[in-house]
Structure formats: C-alpha cells, structure tokens
Amino acid sequence: MTAVASASHADAVPLLTVEGLRCVFDVSKPWLNRVLEGASKQSLQAVDDVSFFIPKGETFALVGESGSGKSTIAKMIVGLLRPTNGEIRFDGTDITKVGNAAEMRRLRRRFQMIFQDPYASLNPRMRVDTIIAEPLRAFGILSEDGAIATRVAELLRLVRLDPADGVKFPHEFSGGQRQRIAIARALAGNPEFLVCDEPTSALDVSVQAQILNLMKDLQAEFGLTYLLISHNLAVVRHMATRVGVLYLGRLVEVAPSRQLFTAPRHPYTRMLLDAVPDLAMSGRQRLPVQGEIPNPITPPSGCFYHPRCPLANERCTQERPALVPAAEGYVACHAVAEGRAA
C-alpha cells in the first residue's frame, strides 16, 4: 500500500503543503540585562526551511530527537505559533495569510490537534461532555442542547467509551481513556486533518497500541489525514505512509515508510534506526551513535549533522546539503549525493 501511495504522489492532490517553513525564536535576555551586560540579541532557529506535503488520506510522520523542531512545526500548522517565514497551504489556502476571522474559523474546523499529554490536555474542572461539546459550540455546528448531547454520546461511542461517562470529570479516567476523550474532542467538528503530537508517548505500552489502532480505524472510516509527530520509531512504522526525519530544525530525509525502515539513506536516519534495539537489521553495517544534538543557538556550519557524522568530509563542514530526490524519497546529504555512503 505504501509503495503505491508514494508512487502516485505526483498526481495526488496534497491536502497540506508546507513550504520553506521557518520559525525563529528570540531567546535574548531582557533588554535591561542586555544593556548592562553588553550581551547581544540571540535567536534560536527552531525550524529551518522545512518543506513537505501530505496527500489526502495519508499519514505523514515527523521523527527526530528532542529539540529537533517536531512540535514547533505541529504548533505552526494548527496556528498556535506564527511562522517566521514560509507557507502552510491547507487545501489550497495559505493559512498563515488568512486575515479574515470568519474564514479562519471555517478552516480551523477542518483541522484539529491531538496532544501529547492526556493528563494536561483536558481541563480538570470540566465534565467530559462539556469538553467534547466545546468545539461543537465554538464552531457553531450545533447549538441545541439535545442535539449536542446526542452528538457527544455518538462521539464517545466512536472512541469506544460509554456515553454515560460524559458526566464524569477527566481525573476519573485512565491515561488511555483520557486520550480517547481528547480524540473525541478533536473529531467533534468532523475535521479532515489531524495533527497528532506524540499521541501515545505519555501512555503505557499496553495502551499505546489500542490508541494507535483506534486512530487507524478512524482514519479508514472517515478518510482522515494525519500528521504524526513522534520519536518512537515503532509507532511511526506502524502508522505512517511517509516519514520525514528532522535534525535540528531541518529535514534530512523524507521517504516512504517502508523504504525508510528497510533502506535508510541519511547517516542520521541510520543512526536513529540503529539505536532501536529490537528492529531486525542483521546484515547491514551499523553506524555508531556519536555525540549529542548540538545547541541550536550556536549550530554547526554546513551540514548540521557533520560533527556527529562518520561520513563527514571538508565539504560537509562548509556547505549545507540540499534536499534532493533519492529513490522514492528525498535526502539531504553530500555523502549520499557523492556516493560515499555505503
């Protein structure tokens, strides 16, 4: 399925296209401290020129270490953060440039987010039915109490919860049940696109699979498109159609899931996969894990990965590699382009 889906990428109409996305945070000290200590302004490039697209009905996963900018991209897409530059086109409309509040509301209804921590993403002082009904009221989908109650019950059943649970408070549920409630809330407005920011990383392993399978079922039932943010490669392998690997805010490799897991190109992707102990990868030479992710305030020159890369040479330290097509995906690596990679 994955191979077919990715082969037909050129013709598939992308639901979401991200182009040249950049996010710079000002991490300077307060003005007074700067003046007194003579410090200069400092900025942090959290996301640096990231481009990808997600065809309708597919799951695109973004993977990377902590601090690689995964969540920042998710937040920019759902409008929690303003991109410094770049375009986010959702079904043809650049959502970073929508000035009209009414139009933005119509667009927002079509994409929602599932958060990482189900213990923090539900207001502890609200009953579950109120939480799930909130998007219905906010988007003006339903206003009559009876209709809302019916829809909330339907949504609870959809995520395999008992409609009678609606009167309870979030603290009366387990982590997995809470994440189901969060999914029900996200689905309330009948969205087409869901941003899932590490949806299972706060859950027990036994519950993770249930939530992921629920997400897959819902995707099949409603034709949902997912952007999955995760650092868990097993989750990504299970869910994703295509995968983008982020390193320090830059995409280093984008490939169909199957290809990425069987034949990773970029040395960083290989290191990530080698770090997973239970994947069967005998027969291929492993690249050793070296060093840590650098400080993004003072990133290395050239390819950000060169201080850790076993294949790095002079060019890598000076010239930033571009994301170029490789097999069915894209990779940004001089070593791969020059054929130095084994």
Binding site: K75, V78, G79, L80, M104, R105, R108, R109, Q112, M113, F115, Q116, D117, A120, S121, L122, N123, P124, R125, M126, D129, E134, P135, A138, F139, A149, T150, V152, A153, E154, R157, P163, A164, G166, V167, A182, R185, G189
Partner: protein, 317 residues
C-alpha cells in the same frame, strides 16, 4: 447512530452533600481541632453580626433607647441607679457593650468581605490579563502593582480615603463612609491577588488544555474565563481568606485612627478607639471586649486561611 443517549445520571443534592462530607477537604477539617474551633468562632461572630438586630438587647446607636443613667456599668454588676445588669457592661452613654460588639462586628465584617471581594475582582482580572497576555501588558500591570506594593497598604488606603473625602460633599461623609472604606481597602489590597493569579495563569496558559481551546479557535477572553479562571481559583481562595483577616484589621486600624466609619455606626475599630479613652479611668471593659472580639475574629480567620492553604496543597496531604 440515531438512538437517543441514555438518561445521564446527574447527582442529587443528598449525594453532593455526602460527597462534600466525604471529600479530602472535609476530612482534613475534621482532623484538625484548632481549625474546627476557629471555624466555630468565625461562625459564631458571623451569626451574631448577621442577626444583630434580633440578638442584641438594644439598638445601641438609637439614642432614644439609651438611658444615660446606665453609663459605665461594670460587667455583670448591678447599676446603682437603674438596677440594670449587663453581661459585658456598658459604655459612658449607657450602651450595652455586647450589643455594640454585635453591631460593630457587622460593620467590620461587611467592610472586610466587601473589600476582599473588590480586591479579588480587580486583582484576579488584572492578574489573568497580565498572565495570559504577557509581554508589554504584563509589564505595565505588574509594575503598577510593584509600585503600589512599595507603599504600606494602610497608607494607600488612607490616601484613597482622604481623596474621596476631599472630593465628596461634607454632608455625605457619614453615609458614604462605609463604601469609601471598602473602596480604599479594596484598592490597596489588589496587587497580591494580581501577583498570585498572574503566576498561576502563566503556568496554566502553557498547559495543553489551553492550547486545545486555542486550536478550537476560542477567543482569548473566553479561554481566560472558561478555562483558566476555574483553575486559578484555589490559591485565590486561600489568599482571600487570609486577606479577609487583614482587611478586617485594616478597617479597624483606619477606624481606630479616626478616618474610618463614624461613631454613629461604629465598627470594632471605632469601639476600640472610643474604649481606650476610658482605660485610664478604670472602665477596662469598654476597651477589652471589642478588642477581644477583634482578636478572636482575626486570629480565627487566619487559622482558617492557614488550614485552607495546607488542605488545598496536594504535597502536604
């Protein structure tokens, strides 16, 4: 799925009362004899203040009901002229001290509660805005609060009180004394509420449930009121209770200094000010009983506040 949802079981009042009795807070209340005693004292004074017209043997501030011959009767003693006896004695005008205390705590509690309510309203609103908006709005609000905190709050209250007296016509001073006092104390106490609420709001703002509300597209004001406010009220309740004791004392201080309520509708502070004039001449009860009431009230409210702070702190459970 067209079927109607099953009748959702809402909890009855009886169940609610049982849950309240069974809750952690009620449990910690039952476990602390000091808190129960403090609660009893506050309840007693509250009942006395609210039902003062029914409980008091006389209206001490209605001159027609007073007999000057009853003046300066010692507690429990029999007056040599009228043969009347008063539990806590009388003052120089023949007012029953117990009745003056009942009416006096009325004024004190009214000013205390209203001033705390006003300070909370201002403080919570500004704190929410400062914490949620951040940036320049936050800086401006908090610098104003900081500047106000550099002045003793009693000084600020006196300043506000003085300004109002200067602006308002003289004949309205007596009738407007209590509202002005409430404004003065309320305006001088808001920074601590604003600081606390701002701090908690900044924590809550970054939680995912607030982000979820933003993704839904709720307006900032709706998010602040519906989502953030209910989650910052715990600490507000605690400092509100502690603030009540402070407000009662502030009112007493202002009245003691003579800038508070007039002697015709006195508070505990006024009673203490009047009473101190007689301490040297031996009529100790005129000063002693109002002071004791104020002390008991302020101490009990403080103890309740301390208990509430600990009871709401999950780390101390």
């Amino acid at each position: 799925m067209r079927d109607t949802p099953t009748a959702l079981p809402r909890v009855s009042l009886q169940q609610k009362l049982f849950r309240l009795w069974d809750s952690d807070i009620a449990y910690s209340f039952r476990q602390s004899p000091v808190t129960m005693a403090a609660g009893f004292v506050v309840l007693l004074i509250l009942i006395g203040a609210v039902f003062a017209p029914l409980l008091a043997t006389q209206n001490p501030f209605d001159p027609s009901g007073l007999n000057l011959m009853d003046g300066k009767t010692a507690p429990m003693a029999v007056n040599e002229f009228t043969q009347n006896s008063y539990l806590l004695g009388t003052d120089d005008q023949g007012r029953d001290i117990l009745s003056t205390i009942l009416y006096g705590s009325r004024a004190s509690l009214l000013v205390g509660f209203a001033a705390v309510g006003l300070a909370m309203l201002i403080g919570v609103t500004l704190g929410l805005i400062a914490g949620y908006r951040g940036g320049i709005v936050d800086s401006i609000i908090m610098r104003i609060a900081d500047i106000q905190l550099t002045f003793p709050s009693i000084l600020v209250a006196m300043l506000i009180f003085g300004v109002f007296r200067g602006v308002l016509p003289v004949q309205s001073h007596a009738t407007l004394a209590v509202p002005v006092l409430i404004l003065a104390i309320g305006f001088s106490d808001w920074p601590q509420y604003a600081r606390t609420v701002r701090g908690v709001t900044m924590v809550e703002r970054n939680k995912e449930y607030v982000q979820a509300a933003r993704v839904i597209g709720l307006a900032p004001l709706t998010i602040m009121i519906r989502h953030v406010l209910p989650n910052v009220l715990g600490p507000v309740l605690v400092i509100g209770t502690l603030g009540l004791a402070l407000a009662i004392i502030a009112e007493a201080t202002l009245s003691y200094l003579g800038v508070g309520v007039p002697p015709t509708q006195p508070s505990l502070g006024t009673l203490i000010r009047v009473g101190q004039e007689y301490i040297a001449s031996g009529e100790w009860w005129i000063l002693f009983f109002p002071s004791l009431t104020l002390l008991a009230l302020a101490l009990s409210v403080n103890l309740l506040g301390d208990w509430l702070r600990d009871a709401l702190n999950p780390k101390l459970r």
